[in-house]
Symmetry: C2
Subunit: 435 residues, 2 copies
């Protein structure tokens, strides 16, 4: 499949470069050329030409931390303290989740993400075969891990399940799926368990996805138990000696930041979840200044409650400005890079995605730039980060496949997905388990 | 014109009431009945029936602080320190603004607001006849004031202009326009000037719209100059003895909060502007607990950069949770009320708008609730505040007139408005003034 996109403004996410009246040629799933009109080879014969004047092209957005199927619980339990929220609401309902629920929930999440311009997401949940199946069908790119509670009775079984999942799915779906191991957090996975996980990761040649330093309670408890901060504790047991994606990283001291930078840890900053659960504000400006691999994630939809990366990126920028008392912090182009190439770097996929340049996979979003709220057209980075809505995504290409055109998702029967997700949510809330 | 809306879920914004499969009858610009299907009188013969199954009806959102025509500067100057931003960017370009600019900029702002479900806005700017004209044509409701810089050479002229504006426009456009005097701020309007403004307000029987305690610098300077905080200083000179709409109110102590509550001051909380300019975080939870009239505003689009009240309401809620370290603060239904009836109360329009109930003006938004990101349908307040987008507004009625249907604004030629706004912005940025 050869596609030519032409006439749009291009933000390749290589610094502050802006290409007006640009052109992108796509062939065999990859970007062939990017530049001004006339850049594509004269003998390039596209199967499809997308006339994109009045639009802006960016790399697909990368959501580096979510629990996709939790969209089923969107709006089910809000405005609660963390422990009652988990113990009275989230965990009981998660105990009733079936494979069927996770399949339909993951498809609903994929539909929502495609609609708002996200092309890649990093997920940690359970029944991951079903999430992988949803990724395969939807055409999305994902980095998937089975969440592992080492302290739970099924800790060993979950680890074996995650290992088998990796064997079955890593690099599948035309290479769109990569896998990780998903040890949940230092407070749910004791060191001896984490060591088993690390060994498995090294044998399989995959990375780890873990929650780190999310809440004040975690920080306090880990310090009490191990005499070190969550980051320092994980460094001590050698966790960061392989690729790690660390979600949240809210409560960090200077030494923690040094460790995260030295070890090239991918960080998934989740500002709206951290705000909604009152977890705290991650020191993102300090992390970026220190050279850390910071990216952005939405977290699950029960603590957000959407998967909209445009809004999440805006919140990340605005929140750092006010907490640092400095409006120059996290300027628009830097925030835009954090949500694209920053996400790719956090997932160690920067050779494949995250910018618009030749030889990268063709993960491209065309944003409709004609609405009232995106006019007049001054700085396109500022518009993307401070004024755009996820719903401005007009056409989405992933791995060279057009998955959404004119705001209609082509890879899924969206009405059926919504209908089935409603059915699953209804059953879960009613408390029955008659699957 | 008689309209019957039926089949939708209704959030009247009277506490946590939810009406499923509801019905609203509209007659002569007002709401006649609100309730379940079958509530309208049997002899009610609508000119138009809107079948709204799958939608949610709320009162129109109320944006209590903006500078509408500043949409022309959206994305023109961002990520700068306050004083260079004002002196090098905003003020020079504002010095070139013409009536024509303000007219087209205000129309563009009205289009954006209608698209995102806002039906009323409170504005402070200049060339207000043009903004009033835009309000009249767009069908919106607005509370308009001429911004007054008492310390400027044209301070007296501006005051006279504001007085004439009020005489010309107060209660015009079928009552959709109300007017205020707009003394800019305590640091730009000396006490003797404010006293003249207060006298004019009392003679005309109108309120005041003023910026108060926005920045740490203002707080410091006013304390140094007058030996009192901005709020206490304004209380001393008697400003709050009439209806006042105070924007920002970021830097407040306990005594300031007491004054604002005692004087029934309408407060326009502008979280995204305060974050973007690094002004600080207003103590909204404390103000609400003390019984203050807190509402939400976007501020102008050069410090936001959009006029989307859904997003602004979400930010208000999330920001209070994290700053108070308490996820139960500002729950969804309370945030939703703040952006509707709260806005009405801040503008002293609570007898006319802000809830869906008989005898109020028919300012109604139908939100399309069928998108992936609003499913499955659990708590509708949580969906409105934590998951909806401004672009989910589907149909908007103001004063009984359908101003937007199926996302198409009916009162304006939107393409022409965008074209003219682009022309104005281009001329402004080029620095010429050949109007």
């Amino acid at each position: 499949m050869k596609i030519l996109l032409r006439g749009m403004t291009i933000l390749p996410m290589k610094g502050e470069t802006v290409i007006e009246k640009g052109e992108i040629a796509v062939q065999d799933g990859k970007i062939m050329t990017v530049g001004s009109m006339g850049t594509a080879p004269v003998d390039f014969e596209p199967d499809e030409i997308i006339e994109a004047a009045g639009m802006v092209a960016t790399p697909g957005l990368v959501n580096t931390h979510t629990h996709a199927a939790m969209v089923l619980l969107r709006g089910y339990a809000d405005d609660m303290m963390l422990m009652p929220w988990l113990t009275e609401k989230i965990w009981p309902i998660e105990g009733r989740l079936t494979k069927d629920d996770v399949y339909w929930g993951s498809l609903l999440a994929c539909a929502e993400m495609i609609h708002s311009g996200t092309t890649t997401f990093a997920d940690m949940y359970f029944f991951m075969n079903e999430t992988a199946q949803a990724v395969k069908e939807s055409g999305m790119r994902a980095c998937l891990s089975r969440g592992l509670i080492g302290a739970a009775p099924n800790g060993e079984d979950s680890l074996n399940e995650n290992i088998q999942f990796i064997r079955d799915w890593n690099n599948q779906a035309e290479g769109r799926i990569t896998c990780m191991l998903g040890p949940h957090a230092p407070y749910t996975c004791p060191p001896e368990y984490l060591k088993k996980v690390m060994q498995a990761a090294d044998e399989l040649g995959v990375g780890l996805h873990i929650h780190v330093a999310e809440s004040r309670t975690e920080d306090h408890d880990i310090k009490k138990q191990y005499g070190a901060s969550p980051v320092a504790h994980l460094e001590t047991i050698g966790l960061f000696e392989r690729p790690v994606l660390a979600a949240h990283c809210v409560h960090l001291d200077e030494e923690d930041i040094n460790i995260l930078v030295k070890r090239n840890v991918g960080i998934a900053h989740c500002p709206q979840s951290n705000m909604k659960l009152a977890s705290g504000i991650a020191p993102v400006a300090k992390l970026l200044n220190a050279g850390a691999r910071v990216s952005i994630g939405t977290d699950g939809a029960s603590s957000n409650n959407d998967l909209d990366m445009i809004e999440e990126t805006r919140t990340a920028s605005l929140l750092q400005k006010v907490v640092e008392e400095d409006p120059t912090v996290l300027p628009a182009h830097r925030a835009a890079m954090m949500t694209t190439i920053g996400g790719a770097r956090a997932l160690r996929l920067e050779d494949q995605i995250g910018t618009l340049e030749p030889e990268k996979q063709a993960d491209i979003v065309l944003w409709d730039w004609q609405a009232a709220h995106l006019n007049p057209p001054h700085d396109p980075f500022a518009h993307l980060v401070y004024a755009a809505k996820g719903s401005d995504a007009h056409t989405v290409i992933i791995n060279g496949q057009i998955v959404m055109r004119d705001r209609k998702v082509l890879t899924l029967d969206e009405n059926e997905v919504i209908k089935q997700a409603k059915r699953c949510a209804h059953r879960l809330v009613e408390g029955t388990n008659n699957n």
